[in-house]
């Protein structure tokens, strides 16, 4: 077959829809301002290494100012009738829908993920999340936290780079609905969508100081988390940093929720609908370049169908389109940063060195930017680093099993406990495994599905607390 005959023409989404300023300040007390020390950092497009903008770098003094602004805003904001807070959040949801294409292109530029995902997954979920929690703001007495649940105060929120605006929505929407005010630190490599969100707050007429955004790096985040006048810390990111935050918060009165790493098992039984399972395996590990805490990064396939599944998987991977994230036909985009690419590369090399067999489909990677071809390791043992450590990249480790008990034992053999997948046509087996898997989200005959009504969060070292649904409110309310 002549591959060229069926090659796609480039179909790039227009960049004209988004206007990125050459520089951005911190968003504190309702206005953009320079960092106190005047420091800035550059944010790049990981697909091209082009500098997109220069962003103010927040330090202790800036954190102090942001927390002061959030504290000052807390009294009036929490005293507003819930129905009024709700209307602000509905406004925000609507403006996000209106500006959805702009934000999708922006997110793709700053993060490197395909426009298909920002357009069809990230942005619709962001708007839905605000819409969902907006409706809770005047119904909190029905949330199961007592007849008159009270907000906590100032929430310090630190979010990752893999779903920048979606993670902002998961943090900000429930915090505001419950009457808290927010200081949010976006990730160092993806600050732009949070700063655009600041503009959305302005358009929505949100009172000043209710949302404050201080870009920076780990030191900025540590200053925020350690600030004595914050009442609540919410963090999404690595387990190592999560433990550090838990130690920082120990002995204080600060409430803490953590959404951390994972090493999700995707379990495929011989009676599974294999074509669907293969799609689920691909979506489970190559969605967002595998930079997903709940990725199905360990494939556990029943021995009897191992060859069949792997052949189909390899055929399917050969059709994945890797390249320009703004191209509407792209399936796999760029890795978010040089640092992350180095980590993925190092772990993949460790996989080879420890004796697993490495395979990637033939694909041409762009010359500039940060890229990693979709990769499958077979012959992986439970002792291999690629079976134990979170790679956070497009790398699938394949293990096998014979019996359901063995599948469960292997799936649970990890300090993480965020997600798991089960593929079988046998209903009773789904329900039994769903009970036995120690993971916060279990996807049966599907994978990587999200919804604002559906609580998300981990067991064990994947963190604690839930985001989404009624459960997501508990993290921001005094316990009755």
């Amino acid at each position: 077959m002549n591959a060229k005959l069926f090659a796609y023409a480039p179909a790039p989404e227009s960049r004209a829809v988004v206007d990125i300023a050459p520089s951005y300040g911190l968003f504190v007390d309702g206005e953009f301002r320079e960092a106190a020390a005047g420091k800035v950092f550059k944010t790049l497009s990981p697909a091209s290494e082009e500098v997109l903008s220069e962003v103010a770098y927040g330090e202790q003094e800036d954190i102090d100012a942001a927390v002061r602004a959030a504290r000052a805003a807390f009294g009036p904001w929490s005293a507003l009738p819930g129905a009024e807070r709700a209307k602000y959040l509905f406004r925000i949801a609507r403006i996000i829908q209106e500006r959805s294409r702009e934000l999708a292109v922006l997110e793709t530029l700053d993060n490197g993920k395909p426009i298909r995902e920002t357009r069809d997954a990230d942005l619709p979920l962001v708007a839905a999340h605000f819409f969902y929690y907006a409706g809770w703001a005047d119904k909190l007495s029905y949330a199961g936290c007592g007849p008159d649940p009270r907000p906590l105060g100032v929430a310090a929120q630190v979010i990752p780079w893999n779903f920048p605006l979606l993670m902002l929505a998961w943090k900000v929407a429930p915090a505001l609905a419950t009457g808290n005010t927010v200081v949010l630190k976006p990730a160092e490599t993806t600050p732009l969508s949070a700063l655009f969100f600041a503009d959305i707050c302005r358009q929505a007429g949100l009172p000043k100081g209710v949302v404050n955004i201080v870009p920076g790096d780990g030191a900025t985040g540590a200053a925020l988390v350690g600030h004595p006048d914050v009442n609540k810390v919410a963090f999404t990111g690595s387990t190592a940093v999560g433990k550090q935050i838990a130690r920082t918060v120990a002995g204080t009165r600060k409430r803490l929720t953590l959404e951390l790493g994972g090493k999700g098992a995707n379990i495929v039984f011989e009676d599974a609908p294999l074509d669907q399972a293969v799609e689920g395996i691909v979506g489970g590990i190559f969605f967002n370049q595998g930079q997903v805490c709940c990725a199905g990064s360990r494939l556990l396939v029943q021995e009897s169908v191992q060859e069949e599944v792997l052949d189909a998987l390899k055929r399917r991977l050969s059709t994945l389109r890797v390249g320009d994230p703004l191209d509407k036909n792209t399936d796999v985009g760029a890795i978010n940063s040089a640092e992350q690419l180095a980590r993925i590369t190092e772990l993949a090399e460790a996989g080879e060195a420890e004796g697993a067999q490495r395979w990637s489909p033939p694909c041409e990677l762009p010359g500039e930017g940060y890229w990693f071809a979709p990769t499958v390791f077979t012959g992986v043992s439970q002792a291999h680093r690629i079976a134990r450590e979170e790679i956070f990249g497009p790398v699938l480790s394949v293990l096998t099993f014979r019996t359901p008990d063995e599948a469960v034992a292997k799936a649970n053999n990890t300090p993480y406990g965020l997600s798991a997948g089960i593929w079988t046509e046998k209903g009773s087996r789904i329900l039994k495994l769903a009970n036995q898997l120690r993971a916060g989200v279990v996807w049966a005959n599907t994978f990587n599905k999200f919804d604002p009504t559906s609580p998300f969060g981990g067991y064990k070292e994947s963190g604690y607390g839930r985001e989404g649904g009624r459960h997501g409110l508990e993290a921001y309310l005094e316990h009755a």
């Binding site: 120990a250 300090p415 989200v441 919804d451 009504t453 559906s454 609580p455």
Partner: protein, 302 residues
Amino acid sequence: MSTPEARTSSTSGSVARGARLSVLKTYKLYVGGKFPRSESGRVYEVTDAKGQWLANAPLASRKDARDAVVAARKAFGGWSGATAYNRGQILYRIAEMLEGRREQFAAEVAAAEGLSKAKAQAQTDAAIDRWVWYAGWSDKVAQVVGGGNPVAGPFFNLSTPEPTGVVAVLAPQSASLLGLVSVLAPVIVTGNTAVVVASRTAPLPALSLAEVLATSDLPGGVVNVLSGDTVEIARPLAAHQDVNAIDLAGADAESAAELEGAAAENLKRVLRPGGDDWSAEPGLGRMTAFLETKTVWHPIGA
């Protein structure tokens, strides 16, 4: 039955001619359904509120704590896998057994806390009633804190609570029975297993409660009771990689901060001390602190 008065007289050396010398009880730990002494061979003197000797209680060691964790982990699969109805009946059975030994516990509480007979009786009755209250929650809490989620797509989506795992429980230093029951019952009713560190100065009601638990169809290892120096035992529990959560009710502010820091090492769920009124209706908080929410998705389609 040995009342505190009898104990005091038996140690005074002035037993009247013809009076019966009471039989003293050797208080022991409760680990894996058995009653061992501390592996360390250590004991410490337990006195009543007036300083009179009551008993030598085991001074549990780090090794005892580790053994208790092993027993609690071993019991977790069976207990968390039992039906909620079954767990509820067993908690109710604990109340029945305690009711039958009400006088003994009232006497022990009176001695331990220096309470009047009436007040000690009231504490004991409240503790019995608390077991009954929590027994009823076993097959209801999932309906209250879980449920179906109306996701925007063709998916069945259900969130259910599950027990966190092995929970270390530092029992309150005061309220030696009611406080203990108030922190223990919510941990185990949902299917967790527990390693309990009894009140340091008033451990005897806890050690006697173990005898009740052992005769209530509660599987061995579901509750393990240690007595001794709270912080000494709590440190290895807070740092233990196979403990999933810790209730710091019995820790003072300073040691609570230290233990919470150690608990961060494997991200234990931590319930901080403070603000507990054991006479009030407990609410859901002590149960939900040691529950995980699991959400299961499945496509809907023909």
